[in-house]
């Protein structure tokens, strides 16, 4: 892979798709000026996050003119953006589209919908059912939308499918002021999570968080890119809109994987066998969730 990726750390307006569409155009212009190959937006970038009953109002079908407008721009730059997907059977998904060369190449529907604490996604969205890695002309990618990344199995599935980079669009409500450092507690968790996943899955991790407030809730930015060695190689500001451009390379992937061949020794079949055993173990019934 070789990909000059741009993190678009934007502040979407709540429920105003037309305004957000306009801002996506402006950010894509900026990405092109920076000669980026790929523009990554945050979770629900076209709609804002605390949607509640707006969910069905702001939803778009994949063949809607608004989605088509952005997809058309992917002739010039590969694009990944978030929106509420209205499916033909009238379910609503927290989805992410990857578009390249003027067509939709991949859609990921968020699998893990948080519905605890401040979160209400389980109330409004239908859940996706897979983590499928996809090929782009710039490399092999897998999406983890926010909470998807907190379940370690999600990233591991992309790892097994040969992902070069995990793309992690986020709308993370920041919280926790009982900390010593420079980051809110929830943000610190994100930094730790991405550092660990990039290091132990030996992939690039590109996390694009949003910024701004909704109903008193801060989304604190600090988007970042972790190298396959786990190090932060590029980072965006907290709290403010920011554009970060960085080149993801194959050579960094190779270095990490030669040094410690975790991928070669993943033993996926062993895991598959044991998963089947665990899932059928009557002593464990109740512990294993079959959806």
């Amino acid at each position: 892979m070789n990909c000059r990726i741009a993190i678009c750390q934007i502040n979407p307006k709540l429920g105003l798709v037309a305004d957000n569409l306009q801002s996506h155009h402006q950010w894509l212009d900026r990405c092109l000026e920076q000669k980026a190959d790929f523009a990554l937006f945050p979770e629900l970038s076209l709609t804002g996050y605390i949607l509640r009953d707006l969910t069905s109002d702001v939803a778009l079908t994949l063949d809607s003119p608004q989605i088509g407008e952005i997809v058309a721009r992917s002739k010039d730059i590969s694009i990944a953006f978030g929106f509420v997907e209205h499916s033909p059977d009238h379910r609503f998904y927290n989805s992410f589209v990857f578009a390249e060369d003027g067509v939709i190449k991949h859609v990921h529907r968020k699998v893990h919908l948080p519905d605890y604490g401040i979160f209400e996604e389980g109330r409004y969205f239908a859940a996706g059912n897979n983590f499928t890695t996809f090929e782009s002309k710039h490399g092999r990618f897998g999406f983890l939308i926010c909470e998807d990344a907190w379940h370690l199995s999600s990233a591991w599935l992309h790892f097994l499918q040969g992902a070069d980079a995990l793309l992690v669009p986020v709308a993370s409500p920041s919280r926790g002021i009982k900390t010593d450092g420079a980051h809110l507690a929830s943000q610190k968790s994100w930094h730790e999570l991405c550092a660990a996943q990039s290091k132990f899955l030996q992939t690039w991790v590109v996390r694009c968080n949003r910024v701004g407030y909704e109903d008193g809730v801060l989304f604190d930015g600090e988007s970042a890119i972790n190298s396959p060695a786990g190090e932060v190689v590029a980072a965006a500001h907290h709290s403010e809109e920011d554009l970060v451009v960085y080149e993801l390379t194959s050579s960094a992937l190779k270095r990490a994987r030669v040094e410690t061949p975790l991928r070669r020794n993943a033993h996926a079949n062993l895991v598959r066998r044991q998963l089947a055993i665990i899932a059928n173990d009557p002593d464990l019934s109740g512990l294993i969730d079959d959806e």
Binding site: K13, L14, G15, L16, I50, L51, R52, D53, L54, S174, I177, K178, T179, D180, G181, A182, H183, L184, G212, Y213, E214, D215, G216, L218, D220, H238, S239
Partner: protein
């Protein structure tokens, strides 16, 4: 009441809190096309802190601090309110609520003095709601928002007047415990005369919060933090050396005052009742 090895009140990363709360005031004011704020200054730490946050968020020229004394209020309250406003560098004005309150009390002679506890409480609520009336009117005149000054400790305890001092458009410190308010106030340079003054609702001469509540704010904050943030149950709290009667008293108080923290109940007759199943963020469309 408690032995020495009990949990401490919650700490606060003051730099982070400052950034988050200033950003909050700026965003939630300006996104609806407003630029100005009005707030009532009691001479206490909560309003002095909110004022410091407000002038940093909107600029001192866009913030109006108003003291609203009653003729029996402690003169020190007015003095410290002025001191807080001077420190923040914003405009300051005084609205005497005595004629308003006395006009009402004249019609209700049982309120002419605070001899009984019930009368003291009612008078206190009248003062608080008259101040709210004046503040909201002044906010309309200034085309600004009323900034709230209730902290999390008093919101949880219900130690405030509904539609009185609890009323505001937006509140930057409602998720900070009193001990965190103190830490942030010191960080932002609130005058020490205000920070070190024993907290008081100033509803009658010599009143202090801690005397009226029966416990120190540090003790209450430590318990509330363990109950609310850490979700510890009664047995776990007792194991941490909180006295059972203290736990029960505070717990009852928090529960009984839940009504003050919620909008009025609406009788449900349709399929989409406001706030139950007609659910939109307040920042909808901004």
């Amino acid at each position: 009441m408690m032995s020495s090895n009990i949990p401490q009140p919650p700490t606060c990363n003051v730099e982070l809190a400052e950034r988050v709360l200033i950003g909050f005031l700026k965003s939630e004011t300006q996104r609806i096309g407003m630029t100005k704020a009005v707030l009532g200054m009691s001479g206490g730490i909560d309003s002095a802190l909110v004022l410091e946050l407000a002038v940093r968020a909107l600029g001192p020229e866009n913030v109006l601090a108003i003291a609203l004394p009653y003729r029996e209020s402690d003169p020190l309250s007015l003095e410290l309110a002025q001191k807080g406003a001077d420190n923040a560098g914003c405009k300051f004005s005084v609205i005497d609520i005595s004629p308003l309150a006395d006009a009402y009390f004249e019609q209700h002679p049982e309120l002419s003095n605070g001899e009984t506890e019930a009368a003291r409480l009612r008078r206190g609520n009248v003062f608080s709601r008259l101040r709210m009336t004046a503040l909201y009117d002044q906010s309309a005149a200034a085309n600004g928002l009323v900034f709230g000054t209730s902290n999390k400790t008093e919101l949880l305890l219900g130690y405030g007047t509904q539609h009185g001092d609890m009323a505001s458009a937006i509140n930057p410190i409602g998720d900070l415990y009193k001990s965190q308010v103190v830490a942030l106030s010191r960080h932002l340079g609130v005058p020490s005369a205000i920070v070190d003054r024993p907290p008081s609702a100033d509803l009658w001469q010599g009143q202090t919060d801690e005397e009226e509540l029966g416990f120190s704010y540090d003790a209450i904050d430590a318990l509330l933090h363990a109950m609310v943030e850490q979700r510890l149950n009664r047995d776990e709290l007792v194991a941490l050396n909180f006295a059972p009667e203290f736990i029960d008293l505070i717990n009852t108080r928090v529960q009984r005052n839940q009504y003050k923290r919620r909008p009025p109940l609406i009788a449900k007759v349709t399929g989409r009742t406001i706030n139950l199943d007609y659910r939109y963020a307040r920042d909808w469309g901004t």
